[in-house]
């Protein structure tokens, strides 16, 4: 079971601020992002990805563990 948190414009697409997802085997971060992209159609939305409060710069190299918390952080522009 992992938790995914959504912020800003990403949360507007997912229509929720977080969700819990269960997976049977080892889950790569890249696969998770691809699945989420398919599900929510993020398309042109840019965001950075954090796992357990740390931004991951190379999402392709990362394997998730149970109880990891993933966060999708788009840049905000307002001021």
């Amino acid at each position: 079971m992992i938790e995914v948190k959504y912020f800003g414009a990403v949360a507007e697409k997912t229509k929720c601020e977080f969700e819990k997802l269960s997976f049977s085997e080892e889950l790569s971060l890249q696969k998770l992002l691809q699945d989420l992209n398919e599900k929510y159609e993020f398309e042109a939305l840019t965001f950075s990805v954090a796992v357990n409060q740390k931004i991951v710069s190379k999402t392709s190299d990362y394997t998730l563990q149970t109880s990891d918390i993933v966060a999708l952080l788009p840049p905000f522009a307002g001021g």
């Binding site: 800003g8 840019t46 931004i55 788009p74 522009a77 001021g79």
Partner: protein
């Protein structure tokens, strides 16, 4: 009205004291944007006794600003934000030296501006400018206090602090279409809260107290008061040199004119028409004050041209004249324009003009 009475309530904090107050008096902070974030930040910096404050904003006050830009008054609508903000914080604390810069921040003024300050505060409302500020901060080695809002959430961080990670390390992809308050909407308090966080970071840095949000981004949700902090690392590839900065932000803008608009200057002795086509090209154009220097020889023949003269450059269709324009501009020619459409357009117009005169 002595300063020790004014700042008494912070001086008595053991973490600050007279020494801290001195640090504030010596510090110089540039706030870019006197909108929602800026108007929250500025009064607190002035109140705390920051020695010098610069305010950059080319905008004027509009009625829809007053919902969250709380230092402005209704009868100041239409006035310059930078100047009004300066007036307000000067009234609050006349001991602070304030400079109002009613200019748009660009690649041309960013570096020279940033060099005059110690800390740069990003209180802007669009992503492109944040990258510019980031890059100029990197080149001038200044920390950037970042703040931004999306509806009921905000982000705060300090970039490039003591060689720490930058905005690009966090968000390397410049192609974002994030929307600002005008499009997304915002409550005044949200922008005020994030502005407070930013002012707090500025003061922490100057006073050297607490933990600066360097390599950390704070994400705050005003609806449920939840805050998250995410760590991020410096990326070695997200650096920029002075040369790369100039290349990226100060690309030459070619000024084009239509031949129609300069037709009446054809016989003006003060003006020169420069034909950069090869000598075998047609249609031939022979204006009274004209010189032909083929583009490939232009650089070596520049001394034949007067840098102070108004020069209209043309080629066959307006393409090579733009290249000639860039070359001349690089060599400090100031009064130059490229004729759109080139000789092909000119010939047409000259024919029509001749016909008109015959009538």
């Amino acid at each position: 009205m002595s300063s020790s009475t004014r700042y008494n309530r912070q001086i008595i904090l053991s973490d600050i004291g007279e020494e801290g107050q001195q640090k504030l008096a010596k510090s110089k902070v540039l706030v870019i944007g006197a909108g929602g974030l800026g108007t929250a930040i500025l009064p607190y910096l002035a109140a705390a006794g920051v020695g010098e404050i610069g305010i950059v904003d080319h905008d004027v006050i509009e009625i829809s600003n007053l919902q969250r830009q709380v230092i402005y008054k209704t009868d100041a609508i239409g006035k310059s934000k930078a100047k009004e903000a300066k007036a307000t914080i000067t009234e609050l604390n006349p001991l602070v030296k304030v400079k109002a810069i009613s200019e748009k921040l660009s690649g041309r003024n960013a570096i020279s501006l940033f060099e005059k300050y110690d800390i740069i505060v990003d209180a802007t409302d669009n992503i492109a400018i944040k990258y510019l500020i980031n890059d100029a901060c990197f080149v001038t080695n200044k920390p950037m206090v970042y703040g931004s809002i999306f509806r009921f959430q905000g982000q705060v961080s300090v970039f490039n602090y003591q060689n720490g990670p930058t905005y690009r390390c966090l968000y390397p992809d410049e192609n974002s279409n994030a929307i600002n308050c005008e499009e997304a909407g915002v409550l005044g308090v949200s922008v005020g809260i994030i502005g407070m966080f930013q002012a707090n970071e500025v003061l922490k840095m100057i006073l050297e107290i607490g933990e600066v949000l360097s390599g950390k981004i704070l994400v705050y949700n005003v609806l449920n008061n939840e805050q998250q902090k995410y760590d991020f690392e410096k990326s070695d590839i997200q650096t920029i040199t002075r040369e790369a900065f100039e290349e990226k932000y100060n690309k030459c803008e070619v000024e084009e004119v239509s031949f129609e608009s300069v037709l009446n200057e054809m016989d003006n002795d003060e003006v020169l028409f420069l034909d950069v086509r090869n000598t075998d090209e047609s249609p031939k154009i022979s204006l009274r004050n004209q010189i032909q220097i083929p583009l490939m020889h232009l650089e070596s023949k520049l001394e034949n041209l007067d840098k102070k003269q108004t020069i209209y450059i043309f080629c066959q269709s307006g393409i090579r004249s733009k290249i000639a324009f860039e070359l001349l501009q690089k060599h400090q020619f100031k009064n130059i324009k490229s004729i759109a459409g080139g000789a092909l357009a000119m010939k047409q117009l000259l024919k029509e003009d001749k016909l008109k005169l015959k009538i």
